[in-house]
Symmetry: C2
Subunit: 254 residues, 2 copies
Amino acid sequence: MGSKANLRLFKPVRAVRLSDVVADRIRQLILQGHIEPGHRLPSERQLAERFGTSRACIREALRQLEQQGIVEIRKGARGGAFVTRVDGESLASSLTLLLKLRRIPIAQVTEARLAIEPVMARRAAQYARPELIEQMAAAIQGMKEHLDSEAEFEQYDDAFHHALGRSQGNPVFEFLAMALLEVIRDAFSGIDYGVDNRRRLMRSHARVFKAIQRGDGVAAERAMVALIKGANRWLAPFIASSAPPASGGNLGED
Amino acid sequence: MGSKANLRLFKPVRAVRLSDVVADRIRQLILQGHIEPGHRLPSERQLAERFGTSRACIREALRQLEQQGIVEIRKGARGGAFVTRVDGESLASSLTLLLKLRRIPIAQVTEARLAIEPVMARRAAQYARPELIEQMAAAIQGMKEHLDSEAEFEQYDDAFHHALGRSQGNPVFEFLAMALLEVIRDAFSGIDYGVDNRRRLMRSHARVFKAIQRGDGVAAERAMVALIKGANRWLAPFIASSAPPASGGNLGED
DNA sequence: TAACGTTTATGGTCAGACCATTCGTAAGTT
DNA sequence: AACTTACGAATGGTCTGACCATAAACGTTA
């Protein structure tokens, strides 16, 4: 009778990968604030010694942490693993990867944006502080001045959405919206919409901005809906298929 | 004139990490559908030989891919790296990590849910198919029958939201909502709300369900708003602070 | 002071070894 | 024939020790 119990006692010595344990430990240290962004972790050789493992194991742990975007590796003297201030980037790439693997049509991403960004615009109209209004104005101005260059135009387009994201006060909205925007950008990357489309986009953005500027939340929300729908209508023809293999998105397509 | 050009020609031999290149190559193969979910990659030794690198390098690449959730490693004979069907899990953990690191209060997550889940409920009322209605009904029933156990109750609670997510037809909404839900779950993990609160939650869920069942989108949306606001009001007192200042992970203090 | 080697700490890569786990199969047993 | 056991092979997990490439700090020299 005792034999069965003994089996259990001797079994679970260690079933997990050592590099996972190391990654967890370091992640916890960062999460609990014991190591601040910008600071450097000990060198791989020192970590190996302190954790009592090999360098190979430490390196595998660092690859995980790097993939999560919480450390950044620099080489050479005074190099090493530096704790980063995590931004929405890794969230965005997670979402992009997921939607690509599942072959989700862009129209469905647009639908999701329609649930989020108009609310953000309304909130921005209420909460936006002067310096962020200023940033949005500058972004609109930048769009207006670079109608001839897709790359530069998009840069100011992004700047506008980022400023709007920060204006409305809730980082969760900001992160989600930026992730969705990156998915869109990825799907349309390398495409030139032409001057006319850029001008239409710029004017739609300007309408959103003006509503925010005068604190008119309802108008800002409506203008953002118009912007997103317009962008989808004008730009969808530029990608091969708005609804690849599997399922179909339903929006204002024809 | 040739000297300057030659400098450029001889410089960029290889500045990137080899394991990153390997990870990219494998990721592309999967993205392009050359390897299907469920299938196995060659063994580490074979990959090392084919890519012309060491096993250590291959392993670092696999740690990245594993962290992204696109492969899963099993050991032993017939083991190896298997391509997984990626779900919303890695997106959820990305978001959880980001919000924890930035010390975002749960109240702001709730605000974001308010912009998304009510819309989903409205859509579900329109699109939900019978078998998913059935799943939601079963989830409600499960909640009703397990009011005495937090763990089991939450399981059915999750089941309801998952069914709702699948019902409304847009995977993007589903992924985002599940990620937000996991953030909430993580923040409240290990807490027992008590029978009374669970009963209130169950009734709120039931109201959402009934509206969806009879195809009343407007009512479903309103009921979901009430559910989320109610949950926040009833359950917020259970966490130390709805807006933590700086320190992390404080639940059972003082 | 400025330019140029030198040193040194650190990550990047590799080869080779050994262990632990898991599965298939062959041998043995009932 | 059916079940059990023991063995072998494939595979991931881990370690050791070495060498290279890079980049910053240091010292030397003009």
